[in-house]
């Protein structure tokens, strides 16, 4: 597989959220606005790339039996780093993402890529895979955030498009489920037409 293909697969063909249905908790939880979605997506990308690189580097040193615990420790370390750095330099974003930052640890996407990809492939492939998957995740979250923000409060990234209050339900919990459901259906449609 060429590196380019390896990189672009995360956006539509193997999109972590729309196709693989991984990491749905943050995808639903933080996407009340496009900005929050993007912030969460980039934080996850950082964790994904870093843990993929480290796992790929030390994979030969780790005995098979303690593989999963080792991966979890590595991932949790990077998550804590993100948490501390974000609290220091982006306190507003940190406040609105809240609980979902420490929960990157249990995002099945991160552990899944470490286990299924990085523990088998070389450094460059793992790096590209992490970057592609992470940005695909960020893309999905930003898109869902933008849809919910547009329908819910008539704005995208805080810039108002439509006058009025919008459909509040899209900012609330039900809108997250329904919005994601229709975006997945749309992805199915695009994939079939390819």
């Amino acid at each position: 597989m060429s590196q380019l293909k390896n990189f672009t697969k995360g956006f539509i063909k193997e999109n972590p959220v729309f196709v693989l249905l991984l990491g749905l908790c943050p995808a639903l939880g933080v996407t009340t606005s496009a900005f929050n979605g993007l912030g969460m997506g980039l934080a996850t990308t950082f964790v994904l790339v870093s843990s993929n690189v480290v796992v790929s580097l030390i994979k030969s040193q780790i005995p098979d039996k303690v593989r999963i615990p080792s991966f979890i420790v590595i991932i949790a370390s990077f998550v804590t780093i993100v948490q501390l750095v974000m609290e220091a330099f982006l306190p507003d974003l940190f406040a609105s993402l809240g609980l979902f930052i420490p929960l990157i640890v249990v995002n099945c996407l991160v552990l899944g890529r470490a286990e299924a990809f990085a523990s088998k492939k070389n450094l460059v492939s793992s790096l590209v895979d992490g970057l592609g998957m992470g940005l695909g995740f960020a893309f999905a979250l930003t898109l869902l955030g933008a849809v919910r923000e547009l329908l819910g409060s008539g704005a995208i990234f805080g810039y108002p498009f439509i006058q009025g209050d919008g459909m509040l339900v899209f900012v609330l919990a039900p809108g997250a489920f329904i919005g994601l459901g229709y975006l997945i259906a749309l992805t199915n449609l695009i994939k079939k037409n390819e």
């Binding site: 949790a76 804590t80 039900p174 259906a185």
Partner: protein, 190 residues
């Protein structure tokens, strides 16, 4: 009174799945049949309560005294995954029947963010140990309620003529959205 408020709040008003978006993976993954969702709910209740107690003790008697609360995430996830392993081993020895019922769901729980989420929320909400335990059990009940309702609907959904593009996950998500809408009605309770 305070405990009743915690319970109603966690089960209905702030339902862990439908309002807090925690534990969505098992919610989508094992909810296609009612029987499997019962098993999953039981396993979640068991681990969630145990994990909340253990992480509470670790937070207040290890992390806070040594001023290393920044190790919260890493220590919690280690505790939860080893706890799951231990529960698996003990259950296998002590109660093979229960192990049969819950066995395959236990490994899945390590990556169930609801367990870690409740453990962290217990600290954030500054609960004491007993409140924490009540909170954990109530959240597990909330999880069970949401997943059982959902599984019942999904079994019927399989028999319906759903448009092709909406089959599977999209239809399930829209149903979850409608359920979440219904649960919002409980907001007036507290």
């Amino acid at each position: 009174m305070e405990y009743i408020l915690i319970i109603i709040g966690a089960v209905f008003v702030n339902n862990i799945v439908l309002a807090q978006f925690l534990g969505i993976c098992p919610y989508m993954g094992v909810s296609s049949k009612v029987s499997t969702s019962v098993g999953m709910s039981g396993a979640v209740m068991f681990v969630m309560t145990l994990a909340t107690v253990v992480t509470y003790l670790i937070y207040h008697y290890v992390l806070v005294p040594f001023q290393i609360t920044y190790l919260q995430t890493i220590s919690y996830i280690l505790v939860i995954s080893s706890l799951v392993q231990m529960v698996e081993i003990i259950l296998k020895k002590v109660s093979p029947a229960l192990f049969q019922a819950l066995g395959i769901f236990l490994p899945l729980i390590t990556t169930n963010c609801a367990v870690l989420g409740v453990a962290i929320l217990t600290v954030q909400k500054e609960f004491n140990l007993l409140e924490g335990v009540v909170f954990a059990i109530a959240n597990a009940i909330g999880f069970a309620l949401a997943i059982l309702l959902f599984a019942g609907i999904r079994e019927h959904l399989d028999l319906m003529g759903v448009p092709k593009g909406m089959q599977g996950a999209p239809a399930a998500l829209v149903v979850a959205g409608i359920l979440a809408l219904a649960f919002m009605g409980f907001a007036g309770l507290v």
